[in-house]
């Protein structure tokens, strides 16, 4: 099953958000564009990116889906 290029993590606390991103990344067949991750407005994206480590370069975090269009 192909994973959508955008995943919704809105409402999730940080630990399951990180898990959801990791799970989405291992399930991707097309990794040429970044994975869009919709997070809550209160998400500490910097901290999340640090925890993602090298995987952070494959991810675009935003609290508003409109922000993705500017990138992809």
């Amino acid at each position: 099953m192909q994973v959508s290029n955008t995943i919704d993590c809105n409402g999730l606390s940080p630990a399951p958000t990180l898990l959801r991103i990791m799970q989405a990344l291992v399930g991707r067949e097309d990794s040429t564009s970044p994975l869009n991750v919709l997070v809550g407005a209160d998400c500490n994206c910097e901290s999340l990116a640090v925890s993602l480590g090298p995987l952070a370069q494959d991810v675009q975090l935003a609290s508003d889906a409109k922000q993705f269009a500017a990138v992809n």
């Binding site: 409402g11 999730l12 990180l18 898990l19 959801r20 799970q23 399930g27």
Partner: protein, 301 residues
């Protein structure tokens, strides 16, 4: 924390029919669920059970909780027929108040189920929280953490669909990441089709009740734990999913935010992470391990 539930004897004169494809009604999960149902204020209410199984809960809430009417459906179409038979055996005077939805019903995804849900006061459910071991994406995640599936875990028992759900199909739901995708999908459907209905759901709490309550809150319900019991995990149960979650968080600043909750004793005083529990299983596959089962009531906010 609620006190542990006590064992209860059967209130029925006859035993229900329990073929291999049905979840065992004598399992402590069912005992805990019924303790919660007894505290859920079901008198004169219309109740819908998603995943009716043998019908043991329907008989219980009609006979012992005073529910006015109970609807019920199941993904396995054989089970609704079995439930009808069992309710006639267990509680014949109440059998006419059970209104089954026949056929294979995933969650409440048929017109008839939705029509009945719209007339329901309380929705009850105990549905799977572990993705199918053979799920390709779940396998990829597990392998990315270098976690092996337990021997025999990929074999499909007769009651397979009572224990596992197709994980990838529920990936649109955020809490699928911790095994709650099917439960979250049900919450969203009930919010849509019966926005005033309460939810009473039975959970294995190996990922902790905190994150289960978070899932309720994220979906518009105020959670309340109304029953709890520490139960013996079935010998041979595969816990690789929980170990994978912990291992994925290792070394991150969030690793202490999600530590799975197993116990080395029936009182629940010796907490164990999934990683530690797996080490103990590796040393002795028959080691007794325990976890909490809890009934959470969700009141729409």
């Amino acid at each position: 924390m609620l006190e542990e539930s006590s064992e209860t004897s059967s209130p029925y004169a006859s035993d229900p029919e329990t073929p291999d494809f049905a979840f065992d009604p004598d399992d402590p999960w069912t005992q805990t669920f019924q303790e919660g149902l007894a505290r859920a204020d079901l008198k004169d209410k219309t109740v819908y059970e998603v995943g009716v199984g043998t019908g043991i809960n329907v008989a219980f809430i009609l006979q012992s909780c005073g529910a006015k009417r109970v609807y019920g459906s199941d993904l396995d179409p054989r089970l609704v027929v079995l439930a009808e038979r069992n309710i006639k055996i267990l509680s014949p005077e109440h059998a006419k108040h059970f209104k089954p939805v026949h056929g294979s019903v995933s969650l409440v995804d048929t017109d008839e189920a939705r029509e009945k849900i719209a007339k329901t006061d309380v929705v009850i459910a105990c549905i799977p929280q572990v993705g199918e071991p053979s799920d390709a994406r779940l396998t990829a995640f597990r392998e990315a953490q270098s976690i092996e599936l337990a021997e025999g875990a990929g074999d499909e028992a007769e009651d397979h669909i009572a224990h596992y759900y197709p994980w990838s199909l529920f990936d649109q739901y955020p809490y699928n990441s911790v095994g709650l995708g099917l439960n979250e999908a049900l919450m969203r459907r009930i919010r849509e089709h019966a926005p005033k209905a309460e939810l009473v759901m039975n959970f294995g709490c190996r990922i902790g009740t905190e994150i289960i309550c978070e899932c309720f809150e994220a979906n518009g319900y105020k959670p309340e734990k109304i029953a709890s019991k520490i139960v013996l995990q079935h010998s041979g149960t595969d816990i690789s999913f929980f170990v994978s979650l912990e291992k994925a968080l290792n070394g991150t600043e969030y690793e202490k935010q999600l530590v799975c909750k197993f116990y080395g004793d029936p009182e629940g005083k010796q907490p164990l992470s999934a990683t530690k529990a797996q080490e103990m299983i590796n040393d002795d596959p028959n080691v007794p391990l325990y976890h909490e089962v809890a009934v959470i009531r969700g009141t729409p906010v």
